[in-house]
Point group: D2
Chain length 316, copies 4
């Protein structure tokens, strides 16, 4: 049944031709606009795919929730929130501005917050920082992930705005020296390659409260998952986050390569990939597919299909 619906959505939404492939670096501009992959992984470890679910693409901003999760797990909640906030910023993803009151980034889903989280991992892990990140993502994906060097080199050469953000945060002691290394680390994490299938597994590991349902490896604690999902819900979709919360209502995160992941508590992880982006920087086909999946299966967190707390249901 899930497979049938996935196939149906794939065939209808493949027709959609609007959107523009990101072209700020050649390596991204070469992506095939026709590519479209979908995958659903359940908390039981069942996998459903349609289309180009095994086409690799760089994870980009979809990495943000996972480095945030790693920071929470490794450095603790208190330390993490000394380096990043929890408030939606209402701003586009590459905003330079820090929270004027707290002087830290508004939240971990904007570039400044993601750089701050990478900086925190670097402070904790030193030279092992990138391997800690890569290894964490790999555990979430149930596969050994690696960097696309060509994308990494291109991104690094054009990371002027991220350098600006990192130096600004250095100025406010949000990140530590060496600042350049923080930018390298974040750029490298963004250049890790994944597939829609792998992203669905990563999502499913969040849905399964921190344990990869395919490999059974426990990666982060349930409390960490709650923090990550809450911030994905309120801040995961750039300046489209509010409308997404109303219309689709799943914790989600998108990336400039055309990837999109969404999580349904205790049930499934969804991974999608299609390069053409809308004006908010989100994949056109991936958004449409999520809207249809949410309607079909009643996935919205505040839909009548969501029956609240299983703990409370004992008493009422």
């Amino acid at each position: 049944m899930i497979q049938n619906i996935l196939d149906d959505i794939y065939s209808r939404i493949s027709e959609e031709q609007s959107g523009e492939v990101a072209n700020y670096i050649p390596a991204l501009a070469e992506a095939d606009p026709k590519d479209f992959g979908l995958a659903i992984v359940t908390v039981n470890g069942d996998v459903y795919t349609a289309g180009d679910a095994d086409t690799p693409f760089t994870i980009q901003s979809q990495s943000k929730p996972f480095t945030f999760a790693l920071a929470l797990e490794e450095c603790g909640i208190e330390t993490t929130y000394e380096h990043v906030g929890t408030e939606p910023s209402g701003d586009a993803f590459n905003s330079v501005v820090l929270d004027p009151v707290t002087k830290v980034p508004f939240n971990p889903m904007v570039n400044s917050g993601a750089l701050s989280m990478a900086g925190l991992i670097q402070e904790k892990k030193g030279e092992g920082a990138f391997e800690a990140i890569r290894s964490c993502y790999s555990s979430f994906a149930g596969a050994e992930l690696s960097v696309n060097d060509r994308v990494y080199d291109s991104e690094l050469a054009t990371a002027h705005r991220n350098r600006a953000i990192a130096h600004l945060m250095r100025s406010g002691d949000v990140v530590s020296d060496p600042v350049d290394e923080v930018v390298h680390l974040y750029t490298e994490q963004c250049s890790i390659e994944v597939t829609a299938r792998q992203m669905a597994t990563m999502s499913a590991s969040l849905a399964n409260i921190g344990t990869n349902p395919v490999t059974d490896e426990t990666i982060v604690s349930p409390l960490v998952v709650r923090h990550v999902l809450s911030l994905m819900f309120t801040c995961g979709m750039y300046d489209y986050a509010g409308r997404w919360a109303v219309d689709v209502g799943m914790p989600a995160k998108s990336g400039v390569s055309g990837g999109l992941m969404a999580v349904v508590n205790r049930q499934i992880g969804i991974g999608l990939y299609s390069p053409p982006l809308d004006e908010h920087g989100n994949s056109v086909r991936a958004i449409k597919a999520c809207v249809e999946l949410a309607e079909e299966f009643g996935l919205h967190a505040f839909e009548f299909s969501n029956a609240g707390s299983s703990m409370l249901s004992v008493y009422i």
Copy 2:
């Protein structure tokens, strides 16, 4: 069991003495800082209370979700979103600023958005606007609600900032003439008196997807409820909204009188009242009580206790 936990929370949190009663008008400043009322109403119509659950207070900003609900129900989703956005603003409740791109208020939970919604009801209902609002709230509460005239007069005399916002929106054709009437209407809706028990019933009507579980009256459609809960989740707690989403994770709305309501999908509505406010303008005791209730019963929307979609559970 629910009663025991409520009693226990009441007795422990009554001790809390911090916070300041709102004092910008005398009628609010006179509130007794010791007042503390709690109520839970289930979707089965069961009612649990503790403390001063029948002490009346003015609804203030807790009115915002209900006028928004009325606008969606009466004017339709499309028309409503021509007059208000869905994005968190990250700003304090009395921000003058409109969304620089769309020129409408960021969302219906800030003053500008609430004034815009009141303006929409006025456009639709003319002289019957206030009665439409009062009657709608009464249906949600299962009781005939009325205005506290003394608070209304005081608020109106000091509503300079709301007048500024309304004239600014008139300038951008977000509200129509007569502008003064829109400010009167919004001020009057804020001056309607409720109790913690009534607010819990209003919340429970949302939890019960639009139907009052005590009176069985259907007030708004399930789709309207989804929109209202989504925006309460992302924008309901002023500039504390992000942290609330992470720590408590229920759609909620607070008001300057010291009221706080929270909703658990398909299960319960919570109403609380205690006048002393924290620096974000939220009731100190009410926040603490919600934190404890959320922990006790696993109420966080992205907690492991939330089992996702009942529709999807058929297939996995």
Copy 3:
């Protein structure tokens, strides 16, 4: 010689056809785009004119320096600067924003600052406020000025943004009740009719350190003039002020009717009128004429032709 240069500039710049007449109210939109008047009045009382120097137009924002002057003269420097700042805002003329630190308008040349100044006159003069303003302007102009009622009525009906600003300032106690009266007063001052010849006389009264050079009436003190000219220099030309300071370098003020006045210390006042406006809201032909006059006569305040202080020249 002055007459020859004026005639020459008139005949060349009359050819200029670019710009758009303000059309936000019908009474302004009816202005003849071909109208072009120039006048120079010297501190000796000599008058030179070219073109439509006696065509009436409403003074609009060119009123701002004169009500500011009246406030300084009547209420004193200290009280005045409790109600308005001296800093350039870098913003367009109808910005709602107040200085975030001082909570008063940035300067008296933006709408908020001009409304604050009108409010100060109202507080001081009560029912006689408008007559005090009209009479002051008339003394500067050496002629009995009066209001264009049709423009006044139109402006008042569409003054939504100014009402917003006034209520916002009421909220911060920058203006007093009745707020509506302040908006009426400011709108009425903006609807006073003048000609290019009269504006040149008003400017020449500033150049002549507060005394009308035609009537010999002393209106304001030299210190008041210094404050007015300084703020015209730094803030008089909307968001074109900085470029004007570099390229033309005279204290100046423009208005939406197409008027422009400029002052050369101790020498001349310049008044110009031509309705078509550029993208900054300044009269296209008036700007061009000022640029040519400044070059022809070396009028830039920091040009080598300006020989500094006559008091200092005694010693060096």
Copy 4:
């Protein structure tokens, strides 16, 4: 007479004890708060000094007008204004924000604008950039100036915010690679040592329309001087610029070491030095001394003592 007045001002204002020495790097914090030097150089080359007029200090932000002058002279007005604006920003000196419309810094007197100007010189001169700047300043000062290496090293180690600004401008193609070199160049120019006497000579070279009155060397054209003085007038004193324009009315520039220079067209240059700073970052004693000098000699550009244009005076 000038000497007497200078001596008198020195002796009275030496008493002033308020203000705090800049302490963000040790090399600045060691400055003696009692130091107080004044110098006036006339366009005839006469020099008057009082107090510690030969105590060296680093030029810091007082360098900004001179690199701007060099850019205008070497690269032309058009190219220069493609890299920096002319509008006051109303912001503090270390604002990160670029003009949202033009995407270049607001003006050359804020850090972003000064970095942009340094970048322009680097683009033009390559490896000879610093020597071009040092040599230009030396010509203005009539003395071979050199860098304080200790200050340079300290400033460079803490230049996080300037690095952020430079990378942000690189992102918008306002500056070119290598970005680090631009920050080095600007930091080095700020670390050049001068005395109050030398700053007065630099100012006097501007007053003397581009020619050093002591050495008779012509450094920049009169048109460049006009641009520099105009922007010093509107933007030279950080967020105190507007009040300075009203109260003192001379083109001026201050620096964090406690230096302040001011220019009176065609007459004198003033150089002052005293380390304790007020809350705007301006030297307390230097400001007081300028206020007194301005009153004593009628130096305000829009004071009655300023007799306007010598070219126009022929005709009236």
